[in-house]
């Protein structure tokens, strides 16, 4: 009994260290002077902290701008993905379409996630160039919305399927419209699922690198991940600035995920346990 507990605690500590060590390293680098960063043996705990890299990143350089771009692109694309995806998922679970289209459409939607993203990068670049949308937030919003949609549709389909049809039918008989029944009866019941889906969309959009790199090159349109990677240049690697930006990039998602934790757990286990 006691031995298994020690064993379990040991594993947990190990997993925790493995997960948090890089984060700790990033955090300390962002606070160390450049000399301390490369000290051997490494200065694990005792060093003179400095906020130099933070000012460098957000005052001297345009990381504040990147942060804002990332936030706008992530929030707006998540909003549209949820709006369109939720309505699509509702229609696909509740209406019988001719020729079994409701099933075929669902699979077709999922199939857009079955090839590697890089396959679409070049065509998307060409399309955005022709639409004169290169180096705009709109380009990223469109692409992220499109890539989050299949995920939203499939997640929400599962949540909608859990809601008994009787409830919507009762709402209709009670005199409500389809949309009214969806908003007043169905959506409140799937709200944990909706929250969980929103968190995932936000994380995916916030962290996305490939499309942002291909579609944006200017300071005005660049997102945070692209901005950070840009500090690795031919002549120098700005570890301090990159780490400082990394710490700031981590924060919003961390705070948001913690705030939504209650919904996340409920949303992800919805369907696993009834009631």
């Amino acid at each position: 009994m006691k031995r298994t507990r020690i064993f379990r605690t040991g594993w947990l500590v190990l997993a925790l260290v493995a997960a948090l060590a890089p984060v700790y390293w990033m955090l300390t680098i962002s606070l160390k002077t450049e000399v301390d960063q490369f000290a051997i043996p490494p200065k694990w705990f005792s060093f003179t902290p400095t906020l130099q890299h933070y000012t460098d990143a957000f005052v001297t350089r345009s990381f504040g701008q990147y942060l804002l771009t990332s936030a706008i692109v992530a929030v707006v694309s998540t909003f549209f993905a949820l709006l369109i995806g939720t309505l699509a998922a509702y229609a696909l679970t509740r209406f019988r379409l001719p020729w079994n289209l409701d099933h075929k459409l669902s699979l077709w939607i999922l199939s857009t996630r079955m090839f590697p993203a890089i396959v679409t990068a070049v065509p998307l670049f060409l399309m955005m160039r022709d639409l004169r949308l290169l180096n705009t937030k709109l380009a990223l919003i469109i692409v992220y919305t499109a890539f989050n949609l299949p995920f939203v549709v499939w997640m929400m389909r599962g949540f909608f399927a859990e809601v008994p049809r009787d409830l919507e039918e009762a709402a209709l008989v009670d005199g409500d419209s389809r949309l009214g029944a969806l908003v007043r009866v169905v959506l409140p019941l799937v709200s944990p699922g909706l929250a969980a889906t929103a968190v995932f969309c936000l994380i995916v959009s916030w962290n996305e690198f490939l499309f942002a790199l291909v579609l944006t090159q200017t300071d005005a349109a660049m997102t945070l991940p692209v901005g950070i990677a840009g500090r690795v240049t031919q002549y120098e690697i700005k570890w301090g600035v990159m780490s400082a930006a990394g710490v700031v990039a981590m924060m919003p998602i961390l705070v948001f995920a913690l705030a939504m934790q209650r919904y996340l757990v409920r949303g992800l286990s919805l369907g696993a346990v009834k009631g």
Partner: protein, 354 residues
């Protein structure tokens, strides 16, 4: 409001679930659609509610043809078998929902909810959530939600079937009284013939999507239109014996009964209360043996074997007989029903013109 079904048919693919169904329900009536599961009674109700489309035929509420009117504008209230209470709303919000959707102002909403809650004695529950309620309480809330807006008619889909037996009988009585008090047309779907008999002003018996008989409970019981209705209504079921009449005598294996009818192959139907059992030999009685007896408290059901036939009789509570004991039967043949043998006729000859 009166409700009229005119040659209504519903098909799912190739199968006809409701087949040429016609029925005219008067304003204020309590009509029960009765039949075994899969007979199309729930589908019929859902078509009236607008939750299923009508394949062909017409449905009228009052003088309005409602086939193409969307559910939310039919102004009918429905009580679901599952109650379908909105789990995220309090009981008060549940009951107020139909009013809220109709943009009734807050004051009037609260007054009407309070009035209905009082009528159904659920006032102490108003602030709770549906999951904190027992089955019987949920049932009352579902009724309250239907009653609160004074619709053109109530539709009820087996509303009592999820309750335990004692509560079901109690709610049955309350439902009947409530309907009497409100005087609103009610259509009630059930497979329980006892509910149909006790609640209905008229019963519509259905089988395989077709109407078999539409009449008062008493007439359904005393004058069943066909063999199916005869067997389905009444508990225990009517005794049915296949045989033929030859020269004024009904013959079936060891049974011989003088019957004053012309020669034909018939099925004779006799309710258990018209079969009398005696442990002493009687003149002209049919000898039988006891298969088993069931004491019900106020009476005894006696299951009998006459040759290959199983016959059920109602006997007084003090009737005692051992299994396999020899007894004698006297049949009240003037109360007997006769149905053409083999094929059971559907309710076509008596169909009313609508």
């Amino acid at each position: 409001m009166s409700i009229k079904f005119k040659n209504v048919t519903k098909s799912f693919g190739d199968s006809k679930v409701v087949d040429d169904f016609s029925l005219k329900i008067e304003d204020g009536e309590f009509v029960v659609l009765l039949g075994p599961s899969g007979c199309g009674k729930t589908t019929t109700l859902r078509m009236l509610a607008g939750l299923e489309s009508v394949t062909s035929g017409d449905i009228y509420v009052g003088d309005e043809r409602i086939n193409d009117v969307p559910t939310q504008r039919r102004d009918l209230a429905m009580v679901f078998q599952s109650y379908a209470l909105y789990p995220h709303m309090s009981i008060a919000e549940n009951i107020a929902y139909p009013l809220r959707v109709r943009k009734v102002d807050r004051n009037e909403r609260e007054q009407r909810v309070a009035r209905v809650a009082k009528m159904l004695e659920i006032e102490p529950l108003l602030q709770r959530k549906p999951r904190q309620l027992s089955g019987g309480e949920r049932q009352r809330v579902a009724l309250a939600r239907a009653i609160v807006r004074e619709p053109r008619a109530y539709l009820m889909d087996e509303p009592l079937s999820n309750l335990d037996a004692r509560l079901r009988v109690q709610m049955r009585g309350e439902l009947k009284r409530l309907q009497h008090q409100l005087g609103t047309t009610t259509i009630y779907v059930t497979h329980d013939q006892a509910e149909a008999m006790t609640l209905a002003s008229r019963v519509a018996v259905m089988k395989k999507g077709r109407l078999q008989q539409f009449d008062t409970p008493l007439n359904i019981y005393n004058h069943p239109a066909n063999r199916f209705v005869a067997e389905f209504v009444g508990s225990p079921s009517m005794n049915l014996i296949d045989g033929k009449i030859e020269h004024g005598v009904f013959l079936s294996d060891s049974i011989k009964i003088p019957i004053d009818r012309s020669d034909a192959a018939v099925t004779i139907g006799l309710r258990p209360e018209h079969v009398h059992v005696s442990t002493a030999p009687l003149d002209g009685a049919i000898p039988a043996s006891v298969y088993v007896t069931e004491l019900m408290g106020n009476e005894t059901f006696v299951f009998l074997l006459v040759g290959p036939h199983k016959i059920i009789a109602r006997a007084p509570a003090d009737f005692r007989a051992e299994v396999n004991c020899k007894v004698w039967l006297r049949l009240e043949t003037d109360k007997a029903h006769f149905f053409p043998k083999e094929h059971s006729t559907d309710y076509t000859d008596q169909k009313q013109s609508v």
